[in-house]
Symmetry: C2
Subunit: 195 residues, 2 copies
């Protein structure tokens, strides 16, 4: 399991807004921090923040500079370690190209969505695939009101929504990344001990 | 499982700062939103924000007012639903008293910590206890550099730290709440299907 090569991508464009229009969302500081820390916890190969706008890419670069090279790195080395895994790219195509250059193979793409699709895959089958099939893998998470339909439908797999206990499924993207990585890459203690 | 009565508490005092001194931390807007949404997803009986300072309690009240009764409630009813589960209390004693009045029984207290203690309990045993023993339960999460030792040691159970793949365990409290509730209350699909 520990060798599985998984990248995560946070998509700021193309995603939907509340009205169902395609937009680019703004970068959120805590998405950078929280998701980098989750990525470090689950030893992902990289965290790709996907944003087409130069001004937003520069904002991310400025935040990273403070924590990776500036005073933040000295003040909190754990945060430096986490944020070192973050790279900004302009598009999904650029993300795929970067992974292909790093790993020598094109990644298999998994999209996540709060809705269920006819061809959605469950956590257990995907966990098994990731641990047994050759990677790399790219898990995509949408900001705003979710990934555009074309990105979702062109993926290799669409992961089932996160359900807890009941009907409510309006988690923040930060929480969804935490739960999904734990389900796919976390220790399988429940399976090991409960049965 | 669905009937288990679980409250979550976010402790702002007494917690440690970086130097190991006991302090009260500031309220963080996204802790209110993200953790309320996680609480709604896992159908907790209540989310208690524990802060002794009146000014901070008023800040929480103002944010809640906007989302539960103000324009936010109309703009985003899902957020209203989540934040309706949030209550501010001044101390752990007040949190326990509130649960006792609501449920007719004193809660069993579980603390969470990024460190391992000799009497730490694992996720699987605690999940089984929650699903089979009578509640209510109160899961406590510390802000800052974690819950003070006295609170931790006086709890009924200390939950094992969250480990992912590797050595890094510096998650945000928001991420820790997401992963821990999923492990304790989420669907047991891994156990069901993998074995």
């Amino acid at each position: 399991m520990s060798a599985a090569c998984v990248y995560i991508g946070l998509v700021h464009y193309p995603v939907y807004n509340k009205k169902g229009e395609l937009i680019a969302t703004s970068v959120t500081n805590l998405d950078l921090h929280d998701i980098s820390r989750i990525g470090a916890t689950y030893a992902v190969a990289g965290y790709l923040v996907i944003h087409p706008h130069l001004a937003q890419q520069r904002l991310v670069a400025e935040i990273l500079h403070y924590w990776v090279e500036g005073y933040g790195a000295e003040y909190n080395p754990d945060r430096k370690q986490a944020l070192q895994g973050l790279t900004t790219v302009s598009s999904l195509a650029e993300a795929i190209g970067l992974i292909e250059r790093n790993e020598g193979r094109r990644p298999k793409i998994v999209t996540t969505d709060a809705r269920l699709f006819p061809n959605s895959i469950g956590y257990c089958p995907l966990r098994r695939k990731i641990s047994t099939e050759e990677g790399p893998w790219l898990l995509l998470f949408g900001t705003g009101f979710g990934l555009d339909r074309q990105t979702t439908e062109s993926a290799d797999y669409i992961l089932e929504p996160v359900w807890g206990r009941g009907e409510y499924n309006h988690l923040s993207v930060r929480s969804a990344v935490a739960i999904i990585l734990d389900r796919l890459l976390g220790p399988s203690f429940l399976g090991d001990k409960e049965n």
